[in-house]
């Protein structure tokens, strides 16, 4: 498949969605149903690879690009993934001059607090998957304490969790 077409199809999917996997139906329609350049099994592999690895869930479009056109396709997928993010800059510029207004600050703070509530909401389904026994519960609780109470670097929290995961498999 032509790389420009690949990029345009993927960017169409990412531009018309508002979260990582929301572009999936359009990607499936364009690549699996209409153009037959991808199978459902390959699309599932792309989504699963995106979920296993670090980074946003929307990174699966890089995997889709790779499966359709190899390494250049992965680059097209990566570009399609990051392109819409830059649309935030005009909005920031527009708001920049108004951000110091008292009402604007109050709205920004309210959105910040809502963000805290949304983080807890987003943690709930992840917690259902992640907490499979006393050990995973202990990892959740200890990372919560380390992040909320201490100033320890989050990198160490992640590395410690990885080591515990490795040791739990060994023993």
């Amino acid at each position: 498949m032509n790389l420009v077409v690949l990029y345009l199809l993927l960017v169409k999917a990412t531009l018309t969605s508002f979260s990582g996997l929301a572009s999936l139906p359009m990607v499936r329609n364009d690549f699996v149903v209409r153009r037959h350049v991808l199978t459902d099994h390959q699309l599932n592999t792309a989504v699963a690879a995106g979920r296993i690895g670090p980074g946003p869930l929307g990174i699966y479009v890089v995997s889709v690009g790779y499966l359709v056109a190899g390494a250049p396709g992965a680059c097209a997928g990566w570009l399609a993934m990051i392109t819409p993010a830059f649309l935030i800059i005009p909005m920031l510029r527009f708001l920049g001059a108004r951000a110091e207004h008292r009402r604007a600050r109050a709205v920004a703070r309210a959105v910040l607090f809502a963000g805290a509530g949304l983080m807890v909401t987003a943690a709930a389904p992840l917690a259902r998957d992640a907490i499979t026994g006393p050990l995973s519960l202990a990892i959740v609780v200890s990372s919560f304490i380390l992040i909320a109470v201490t100033r320890v670097d989050s990198l160490w929290v992640m590395l410690c969790a990885a080591v515990v995961g490795m040791l739990s498999f060994q023993f």
Binding site: T14, G20, A48, A49, G50, I52, G53, P54, G55, P56, L57, I59, Y60, S63, G77, M81, T83, P84, A85, L87, I88, I89, L95, A106, A108, R109, A110, V111, F113, A114, G115, A116, G117, L118, M119, V120, T121, A122, A123, L126, A127, I131, S136, I139, V140, V141, S142, S143, F144, I145, L146, I147, A148, S154, L155, C160, A161, A162, G165, S168
Partner: protein
């Protein structure tokens, strides 16, 4: 607020990009905590970046990274943030795509990934607490707690989308201004 160097911004986003599992929300949670620790981004700017990222098409966390990078170092910061957080993760996802059948059957990798997602859950809860706690100055705890708890109820119980919850919060924030 401290003004970071471009290399510092790149290093932080790179590190978060390769170590945070579980999607965009844990990534934002960890970035928030690192910004707070380094005194890089004011709560107001974090709120604007967080809210606008939800309004931006595509992957919300990447829009958030562009906004945070923009606030920290302008356009070079925005580019550095989004490149540093996506390139290593993209290389990894290509590798995982190639090796997917192998890794799916490899229990050690599964065990490590499960532990990392558990740590991401704890991190998100810790970051949520930090977001509210840092704003609860003396006698001003009611507004942060009511809005955060209300957002949770609207999203988790009423099942409003994050975009709708942020819209409601913005309206509440406009009419319920801080004294």
């Amino acid at each position: 607020m401290a003004q970071p160097r471009l290399t510092g911004v790149t290093r932080l986003f790179f590190r978060v990009g390769v170590t945070v599992f579980g999607g965009g929300d844990p990534t934002i949670a960890i970035l928030q905590r690192e910004f707070y620790k380094r005194d890089w981004l004011s709560p107001e700017k974090f709120g604007i970046a967080f809210g606008l990222a939800r309004l931006t098409p595509g992957t919300n966390v990447l829009a958030f990274c562009v906004a945070a990078g923009w606030y920290l170092r302008g356009l070079p910061g925005a580019l550095a943030a989004v490149l540093a957080i996506t390139i290593p993760a993209s290389v990894l996802v290509v590798w995982l795509t190639r090796a997917y059948d192998l890794t799916a059957r490899y229990p050690l990798a599964q065990s490590i990934a499960n532990a990392l997602v558990a740590a991401a859950v704890g991190t998100m809860l810790g970051a949520a607490l930090l977001l509210v706690r840092t704003q609860c100055s003396r006698g001003r705890w009611l507004r942060p707690i009511v809005i955060a708890a209300g957002a949770f109820v609207l999203a988790y119980v009423v099942k409003l989308s994050p975009l709708q919850v942020i819209g409601v919060a913005a309206i509440v924030g406009f009419f319920w201004a801080e004294s």
